[in-house]
Amino acid sequence: MTQAVPEAPTQAELREIALTRAEYESASAQLGRALNPLELGMLGAMWSEHCSYKTSKPLLRQLRSTGARVVLGPGENAGVVDLGDDLLCCFKIESHNHPSAIEPVQGAATGVGGILRDVFAMGARPVALLDAIRFGDLDQSLQRHRFARVVEGIGFYGNCIGVPTVGGETYFDSAYSDNCLVNAMCVGLAERSQLVRAVASGPGNPVMLVGADTGRDGIHGATFASVQLDESADERRPAVQVGNPYLEKCLLEACLELCGHPALVGLQDCGAAGLTSSCAEMAHRGGVGIEIDVARVSRRELGMSPYQVMLSESQERMVLVVESGQEDAVRQIFDRWDLHSDIIGRVISEPELRILDGPVRVATLPLGILVDGFAERRPPSRRPIDLDSRLAADPLSSPAPWSLEESWLRLLSSPNCGETRWIFRQYDHQVGDDTVRGPGGDAAVLRIKGRSDGLAMTVDGAHRSAALDPRQGTALAVAEAVRNLAVVGAEPLALTNCLNFGDPDQPEVMWQMEEAVGGLAEAALAFGIPVVSGNVSLYNDFQGTGIPPTPMVGLVGQVPAVAVSTGLGFRAAGDQIYLIGPAGVELAGSEYQRLAQGAVMGTPPHLDVAAELVAAAAIRDLVRGSVLSSAHDCSLGGLAVTLAESCIAGGLGAVVDFPLAIPSQAPTGWAWGVLFGETSGRYLVSVAPDLIDLLAAVCQGHGVPVMKLGVVGGSSISIGGLAEIALEAATRASAGGLAGFMERG
């Protein structure tokens, strides 16, 4: 049968699949003929920003992905690092921002489902989830509702499938009112022999689709994530998918059973652009082609067209290529878990994706065009014209609206700095029986059964600094992640990242992207951390207003001995409190500035990577040597908030003196800058009096500045001469901030 000669698509048809006329013309020129509607739909999805990364790819090339411990970098479903003794760790972070804006519970839930599939598609058992989320201010009921529903969705999926959610990061700022961010990260473990690649090979080998039936849900999801949200988002709502974590749990177990099996050739999850993308990518990686017969795909609904089958984004499906003749062995495994396993096609030697509908060939697209045929984009970029004046502003000279005490309590009760128990108690953070340190501290720590070492992980996003200076802000997020690992004694292995931006066709957004990716590349290189996986989410924009640049950094590290680690809470009255790292007096880009001054301005904190590296090394040594009673990295809210957090967690007060002389010409905000400035590279530690010499020796050995601040004890937290609050008031402020908003309903 021959295909009818199609007509050129209309403008409306192209818009539907987010393809430009020039892109269409390039595709038909490469193909030497017009594309029929099915081919057009498949190509549109594959060439969408979401699948092709056509705008971000040129920037992402700056990221270095190699390193001694890296087994697989970007390009596979998840990055893989070597933990030694044939154990591998796979991890990745991914966004589900647009779906979560439309349907918060299911959008967030299916985001978790998707990232889990990326990890078990590699043959790794998921052992931990983390989430990084952003919303508008909680004093608005819409934001409270959205936030509560996203947390519910994340918990719903992770709790049901039985993977602990061990950490995350939450931040509220009116800049996210119209575009919430929901990024989910998954970490898994695999024996080396279990590692599977998403590669098709061996012409004649059958291609199977396993898991859920295919429905009409999510058609055009990839396209949807590649355009702005506008009023017409309502009409796209059939794109919403309902997750089935129960089915995914069965799918996970069945796939992991299969991963040691010689019958398995390649495994790939079915994500954005559904079957089209999973088949195209698997075949393309293997230098072969795939032929699919859509008539063989189990459907949830009657009357689905080939177009709908090929572009459905129904959740909880995987595509596999198996050795010819082994179909039954594979099928048995899925049968046992009550899962469908359809043989939907076969590997072919011609490098093309061929679609049949029963006996009729309905589409033929060479993979070179489908996967690689798009043109990379480099939209114009422009540095904001008012940036220099904003950077030049001096926030220390602004008058402070509140006293030091009031500022301190307001910060503690801000949902951004206060306790996040309201969130993480809704997440099972213990299932798996490996969580040594769960949420509520700096980094999470997981033991690895049968070994003495463990994993540490954290996710940290650039905060307000990135809005001023995306390069610096992103680098600061990397530094914060490194510090969060250091306080639990962990050394970074590799990082994953999720780059959330507005509309790249706005020159200032493009500039933010260039700067942020540059900052990430530089910082990762300087810290010696390879970037093994990541994700980009663009068009987080509503009616022309986009989010501030929000790169998230997921960092995984190794702890040599999980049994030896230190918490952030003070442990004993009489312990001495030290600040390791530089003193600093500044406010630009800080949480205090956001709360008190509304706008962010000034020059964000300086990043001295060399100093950060030695300080992290010193902290690791101190933690591993059990020298410290507590260790906490000093970031959001500055020294005063960090100190209060250690007091609250330990139920102990503190008396400290900040040994900085007030300069004679001190600006108005000087004391606020001391207490609440977010100078990078600092840790607040406590140590038993008899170990002080050891602390000094280790710090000196590393050449790290260390400053005695005071002593643990009492019922208040006092920063000598500047401010004092009751421990009880601090505890109430911190516990009541987020929870207070949420319990208000």
Binding site: I102, E103, D217, V242, Y246
Partner: protein, 91 residues
Amino acid sequence: MPTDNRHRYIAEVVVTLKPVVNDPQGLVVTQALHALGYPEVGATRVGKFISLDLEGAEESQVRARVEEMCRRLLRNEVIEDYRFQLRREEP
């Protein structure tokens, strides 16, 4: 006896997933019914049933209010449909 013309009503609202939306729960219940020996069951869909006690005057007004409650709160319009029955309770 109410002296004014106010009455008690009961509204029974049924909220179901839209037909195109995946209903994992319905799928599993169908499987379970098959396994229990009820092969005659085809599709099963699971939704919510919400009953409201209300007070109001005219039935048409009460109906309009319930309609509004459904739209604003009781159903999630992204994925759900609703319908309801209203009946007046005799005192």
